[in-house]
């Protein structure tokens, strides 16, 4: 134990990142590269009536133009159990398997050429005629529908209830009700998504931007119907993700199809524009919150209903209504979740998916209630403090929210704030004081790691984890150094390769707690082995010496 855990050390990967020597997925260079450019649908719904590729095929440098007409029929085997990052209902987009168009921006073809410019140019020469049909492109909550069974049984039911929230609301002396609309949010991480695919016979290597190399391997194995062991996924650096690289997106399959077709490694990098439809986004939601309280501020009724968009082919649901069930002490709580199907690509997790969206509406309503009660908004939250998880009826493992309120109020000078809105100005701008509670579940998952100690006093630690920016490289190096009793610069920590010991998804804020334990266990085991060897050899030496 060197005590280096928790110390503000420099990022171990900092130099590589700022000097450009860190190699991101799209930056690997393989010999004999070919480059891919996508052809995207320009209508939101319909079928491809005709697709003309002759001009593209004859454009300079073009090696292949692949559409639903000539693409290989892929297996798309169902997964025995869907990973946490995939929607539980519906089917993932099957690239180039049919002429059906489900959203505008859907990949309907790929051009592979000797240079990127040739591929991009030729992609513009593919002419498509559509038979369009009526598309759902307006977010209309009137079309809201309940979740399917597969979603409901996976823990995202359409309805939850404790007590009788509607009756309690009707009887409450003070009530507020409001609609909260939350626009779609796109990821746009600094590193655009991209994939390099290379086949060696029946073996596929993918260099991909992903927060989960193990799952990438599993998904592509099922798409192509090949054994997982035939696939290797490499992703040593992730330039920002926040959930966008959790799933295996359709372009990964496109890269693999293209590489197999031309028999060369293929690089497919998505443009900023393509990212809007090639990966997911935080969905548009419209939520209704109704609160009922006593005059003293005690909550009696809490109703929160969420309408969220999803695609026409998958049901992407979020934990939007989780905060309503646990954030405050309230005997009568009811929630309702509805989907609005749209001809768009499927949404995906983004930064506290669902929880932050639900919290936004709930906390907005709590402020409205404080106003209606003429009560300090911090006081209102303290008065409804949840001493236990009333949904599960279990004690919290830990909860320091009361201290957060107190310390936050002190530091912000909450007590000195003018209660009346819009009463404080500085340099012609209004200054406001506000409060909101935020919560997020604390999750853990099994993780594996390997540790190798060398005779020169260095160690290599590996796990198939990821580092999208929070500092996995550094924190795991600290854990290893601490456990092995070695200086930081004697540890080489590696991640992001499916050949390494299995790690859970790099999401849900659980990497430190999960992978950290794996690294610690591996280092403890390696250390014990070394010590055992030393004591054995020391013992032999001692015995030999005393026998002399």
């Amino acid at each position: 134990m060197s005590g280096v855990i928790g110390q503000p050390v420099s990022r171990v990967d900092g130099r590589a990142k700022v000097t450009g020597s860190a190699t991101y997925a799209g930056e690997f260079h393989l010999s004999n590269f070919a480059y891919a450019a996508l052809v995207l649908s320009t209508v939101p719904r319909g079928t491809i009536a005709k697709i003309e590729t002759a001009e593209a095929e004859h454009a300079p440098g073009v090696r292949a133009v692949i559409t639903h007409l000539n693409a290989p029929r892929l297996a798309y085997l169902p997964l025995a159990e869907r990973p946490a990052v995939d929607p539980k209902s519906g089917e993932q987009l099957r690239v180039f398997q049919s002429p059906e168009i489900l959203f505008s921006g859907q990949p309907i073809g790929v051009v592979v050429a000797d240079t990127l410019e040739e591929a991009q140019y030729a992609a513009t020469r593919v002419r498509v005629r559509y038979e369009t049909s009526d598309a759902k492109t307006q977010f209309d909550v009137g079309r809201g529908r309940a979740p399917s069974d597969a979603t409901a049984t996976s823990g995202r039911p359409g309805e939850t209830s404790r007590g009788d929230a509607d009756r309690a609301l009707a009887q409450a002396p003070v009530t507020v009700e409001a609609i909260y609309s939350h626009a779609r949010e796109y990821h746009n991480a600094m590193e655009a998504h991209g994939t390099i695919a290379e086949w060696h016979g029946s073996h596929l290597t993918l260099y991909d931007k992903t927060q989960w190399v193990d799952n990438d391997r599993k998904e592509i194995a099922h798409v192509f119907g090949i054994p997982e062991k035939n696939i290797r996924v490499i992703s040593p650096y992730v330039g920002g993700a926040f959930g966008s690289a959790l799933r295996t997106w359709p372009h990964v399959t496109v890269a693999a199809i293209a590489a197999r077709e031309v028999g060369r490694p293929v690089k497919l990098e998505l443009s900023r524009r393509e990212l809007y439809t090639a990966i997911g986004y935080r969905p548009h939601t419209e939520q209704r919150v109704a609160l009922g309280a006593e005059h003293d501020g005690k909550l009696n009724a809490l109703i929160q209903e969420s309408n969220a968009e999803t695609s026409a082919y998958e049901e992407y649901s979020e934990e939007t209504l989780y905060p309503a069930q646990i954030a405050y002490s309230c005997a009568n709580v009811r929630t309702r979740y509805r989907f609005v199907d749209m001809n768009i690509n499927t949404p995906c997790p983004m930064r506290a998916p669902g929880v932050s969206t639900g919290m936004l509406a709930l906390e907005g309503a709590m402020d409205e209630l404080a106003e209606a009660l003429q009560m300090d908004p911090v006081e209102l939250r303290l008065r409804n403090y949840a001493e236990r998880d009333e949904d599960e009826n279990l004690p919290w493992s830990s909860k320091e929210l009361r201290a957060c309120y107190r310390i936050g109020a002190e530091r912000f000078g909450w007590g000195r704030r003018p209660a009346k809105p819009r009463s404080l100005q500085k340099d012609g701008q209004f200054i406001g004081y506000g409060i909101a509670t935020a919560l997020f579940p604390s999750m853990l998952s099994p993780a594996c790691a390997s540790a190798t100690i060398f005779a020169d006093g260095t160690a290599v630690v590996r796990t198939a984890a990821s580092d999208m920016g929070p500092g996995t490289y550094t924190s795991m190096t600290q854990v290893a150094a601490d456990t092995l009793g070695l200086p930081l610069d004697r540890i080489c920590f590696e991640l992001g390769d499916s050949e390494m010991p299995e790690a859970p998804v790099h999401g849900g804020s659980m990497t430190m707690a999960s992978v950290g334990n794996g690294v610690r266990a591996a280092c403890e085991a390696a250390r014990a082995k070394v010590l055992a060897r030393i004591s054995h050899e020391m013992g032999s030496w001692w015995v030999a010496r005393s026998e002399k």
Binding site: T42, E117, Y121, T124
Partner: protein
Amino acid sequence: MVPFAYLAAPNLRSAISRATRSSRAEFIAGGTDMLQLLQERVRAPEELIDLNGLPLSDIEITADGIRIGALARMAQVVSDSRVREQFPAVTQALLASASPQIRNMASVGGNLLQRTRCLYFRDVATPCNKREPGSGCSALDGENRLNAILGGSSQCIAAYPGDLAIALLALDAKVEIAGQSGQRVIPLDELHRLPDDAPHVDTTLRPGDIITAVSISTSDFARRSCFLKIRDRASFEWALASAAVALSMDHGKIRHARIAVGGVATKPWRLRHVEQALTDRELHADLFRRVAALAADGAQPRTQNGFKAELLKRVVERALRQVGETT
């Protein structure tokens, strides 16, 4: 990107004659807008004529003011102390433009000619009369929050995006042009045109014309000028509304006022009626509020850009106050 031929122009004359001969040739200077247009396939010239080698980047003092070569980089003008002292609105407009990296590349002439940021102009999957004449205007009833409330037509409501032109217009700048038929000088106000029924023609430039310089005369009002820009984020963003204001004062009275606004109109836009309402008036905060209330007269907002009318009034008022305070 569609393949094109590239030619580095050896001199002004050959650049002009080359571009006059080919209708599919275009000029490139700093390239900060042209590269985007090429990459997004908004433009697909057969030939790009590179002007960067031409000797047009000097900033010179003239008998009555300053002459800025069309190839002077925006950053070069920003750092010029003569411009900063004599024409503060110009420096402020440049500093409010784009990012330092882009200002290092972008030329003054090219900046004046940058194309609109209308979402549909830049999205080749949608109809746009400016990009593809006769295809229709998607913005009229579409996502038009960024579009113009002044100077639009039934064909186009794309806003002129630049900042520099707004400052130059307020300072009565002139544009020097070299073309097939020789040199000419026009007021900046006559460089850009209204969309009317030919929105694909942004300017009055003729085929082969090249802007060679911009000149501004020194004056009382130019020295007392400012540029104010309101945008969705604090940097690297186009204006929702901007105003360049210049006042000439005489014993606490406004002699002349110049007001040009951006982000709200289809071309750089002078508010002459507001200028007149300020002429020969005592400097007064209340006066600024009253005349600024006229700023959006004649505005024709669409579904999403109505907020620009109120924003414009406030931007003009604030810019007037800012200049008023410096007197």
